[in-house]
Symmetry: C2
Subunit: 326 residues, 2 copies
C-alpha cells in the first residue's frame, strides 16, 4: 500500500469531507465565501481529515461524525495558516499567492477568525464533550506556542528543547488531536486507546514538522510551493540551523549568528553559504535521524492497536510524512 492507495481506500469519505468543507463555507457575505474558496481550492493534502477518518475507521466509529470533525480540523488548520501568513508576511503558499497577498491582511485575519468560529459551531452541533475539549485545548496551546515562537525569533541560542516545544505546539498537537478525535467517533473507545492514538499523531506530527523544516533549506521551490530559506529570513531557529550551529567552527558560527539575528532578508550568497555548510556537515542526515526517531515511536504506538487495513494505512501515512518530498 502507498499513499495513493490510502486515498483510494477512502475515496468516498475524502469526497464527503471535501463537500463538508465547501458547504460550511457558504456565507451571507460574498467576500468571506470568495476568500474561503480561494484557500480551500488551492488544495492541500487534507492530511488531518484523512487521519481523523483513518482512526475513526480503525475503531469502527461513526463515519458521518468523522466527516464533520474532518472538516473542523481542516478549518482550524487553515485558520492558523492564514494568521501565520499575515504574521510572516508570506506571499506564497502552496505554490501560489497567499490569501493575504491577494485579499489583504485585514480580510485574512477576519476570515481566519471566521473559520475558528465555524469550527466551534460545528463542534457544538456535534455535541461530543471529549472532542470539544480536545480541540479547544489544542487551539489554545497552539496560539500560546505561536507566541513563544515569536519570542524566540532571531535568537541564535535557542535550545533543541525549546525548538521541540515550538514544533510540538505549532504542528504535533493538532495532528495528535486529529488521531484521537477520530477514535472518539466511536462513543465507547476506551481512554487507553484514545491515548495511544494521540501518541501516534503526536509523533508523526513532530516528524512532519521536522521534515518541513529540513525541506525549507533542502527542498526545491517549485515542489515546495514556497521559497527556500524562508525560516532563515524570519529568524526561525529550526533543526538544520540548530544542528549546524552545534557542529560549525567558531568563525562559521559567528556568520550564521549574524544572519539569524539581522532581522532582514539574507543576501543570495549568505543563503548559499548556509546551504553549502549544511551540505559539508551533512545536516540533512543528522536532521533526518531526529525525524526518524519520532517516526519510530509513532510506529510503536500504532502497533499496539488492533491489526486491520486501516492500521496498515496509518503506517503508510507515517512513511509518507518522511518520504513526501525528499
Amino acid at each position: 500500500m502507498n499513499i495513493a492507495d490510502v486515498y483510494t481506500l477512502l475515496r468516498p469519505q475524502v469526497a464527503e469531507i471535501e463537500q463538508e468543507i465547501q458547504s460550511n463555507l457558504t456565507s451571507r457575505i460574498r467576500r468571506v465565501q470568495e476568500v474561503g474558496e480561494y484557500i480551500f481550492q488551492s488544495g492541500g493534502k487534507r492530511l488531518r481529515p484523512l487521519l481523523v477518518m483513518l482512526t475513526s475507521k480503525l475503531f469502527a466509529g461513526d463515519e458521518q461524525r468523522a466527516v464533520r470533525i474532518g472538516g473542523v480540523v481542516e478549518y482550524i488548520h487553515t485558520a492558523t495558516l492564514l494568521h501565520d501568513d499575515v504574521i510572516d508576511e508570506a506571499s506564497l503558499r502552496r505554490g501560489r499567492h497567499s490569501a493575504n497577498y491577494h485579499f489583504g491582511n485585514e480580510t485574512v485575519i477576519l476570515v481566519g477568525d471566521y473559520l475558528y468560529s465555524k469550527a466551534f459551531q460545528v463542534l457544538v452541533a456535534d455535541g461530543d464533550p471529549r472532542v470539544q475539549k480536545t480541540l479547544s485545548d489544542v487551539t489554545t496551546l497552539m496560539s500560546e506556542g505561536e507566541v513563544f515562537q515569536l519570542v524566540k525569533s532571531f535568537d541564535f541560542s535557542v535550545s533543541l528543547e525549546d525548538y521541540f516545544d515550538i514544533i510540538e505546539h505549532k504542528t504535533a498537537i493538532l495532528i495528535a488531536a486529529c488521531a484521537r478525535c477520530g477514535g472518539y467517533t466511536n462513543a465507547d473507545i476506551d481512554e487507553d486507546h484514545a491515548k495511544t492514538l494521540w501518541d501516534f499523531g503526536y509523533n508523526i506530527g513532530m516528524a512532519f514538522q521536522l521534515i518541513d523544516d529540513i525541506l525549507d533549506y533542502m527542498g526545491d521551490t517549485s515542489r515546495l510551493g514556497k521559497s527556500v530559506g524562508t525560516d532563515l529570513k524570519e529568524g526561525k531557529m529550526t533543526i538544520p540551523v540548530i544542528k549546524l550551529r552545534d557542529m560549525a567552527t567558531e568563525a562559521e558560527k559567528s556568520r550564521i549568528k549574524s544572519l539569524i539575528e539581522q532581522q532582514q532578508i539574507p543576501a543570495e550568497d549568505d543563503l548559499a553559504f548556509v546551504i553549502k555548510l549544511m551540505q559539508r556537515y551533512d545536516i540533512r542526515t543528522h536532521s533526518l535521524e531526529v525525524a526518524h526517531s519520532f517516526l519510530h515511536k509513532a510506529r510503536e504506538s500504532i502497533d499496539r492497536l488492533p491489526a486491520s487495513e486501516y492500521r496498515d494505512a496509518l503506517h503508510v501515512v507515517a512513511d509518507y510524512v518522511i518520504d513526501r518530498q525528499l
Copy 2:
C-alpha cells in the same frame, strides 16, 4: 438608581468576574500573560459581563456560571478588539497605547486567537449547549460582519440598512448574547424569556454602537480615549455621515464624498469642515433620535419580564448606554 448603584449592587460578583478574567490569563508563555494583563488592566467597563450577571440574577440563575460566562464574553469582546486594532492600525485604545502599538501586530493577532480559544475552552467546561451555540453562532456572525464592514469601507453610497447590518453584527449581537446567556444560567428558563432577553440586549447594543459612532465626531479625545474623526479616516460610513450625506447640498456632499473615498488621513481643516457641517445640520439630534428608537424597544422588551431590582438595574444600564459621554 444610577450606573454606580448598579455596580455597587453587584460588587461581589463584579469582583469575582474580575478574578475569573485574571485567573484564566495564566499562561505558560510569559509574553501571552503580559499582553493579557496589559489589555485587561487597561480597564473597560465590563459592560458585557455585567449584563450576563444582571440577567442571571433576574432569573435567579447559577451565580458561578454567570461569573464564568461573564469572563468568556469579555474574552470574546477583547479578542475582537485586538484584531480590530490590528486591522485599523489603531494606536490608541481606552486612552492609552493600544496593545498592537506596544507588542506588535504579530503577537496581538495570536493573543486574540488565544482569547477566543480560551473562551471556548471555558464554554466546553461549562457544558451548556445553549450557551455554546449562542456564543459560537455570534462569533461566526461577528467575523463575517467585520468583513462586510471592510467591503463597505470608503464607499460613500452605503445605505442606512447596510449600516444597521454592520453595527448589528459588530456590536449588537454579542450584547444580545450576553443578555440571553445570563438567562441560560437558570437551566429552566423558557425560550420566550430567553428571546426577550436577546431582544433587550440587541436593542441596547444597537443604541450603544450608534452612540459610539456619534461620539467619534462629537466626543472629546480625552474622555473618548481615542482620536476624534477616526471613522472618517478609516472611510467608515456611520450614522452621522449618513445623516449628513442625506441632508447636505450637492457641493457639500461632493467634498464629504471625496474625504470618505480618499483612503488617507483627512487634513485638520477637512475634519473641521465636516464637524461644522454636522453642527449646522444638527446631526447630533438626528442621530440620537435613531439611538433612542432602539432604546425604546429595549425598554419595552425588559418590561415584559418580572419586576425586580435587577430589572430596574437593566433599565439603568439602558439609560447609561445613551448618557455615558454625551
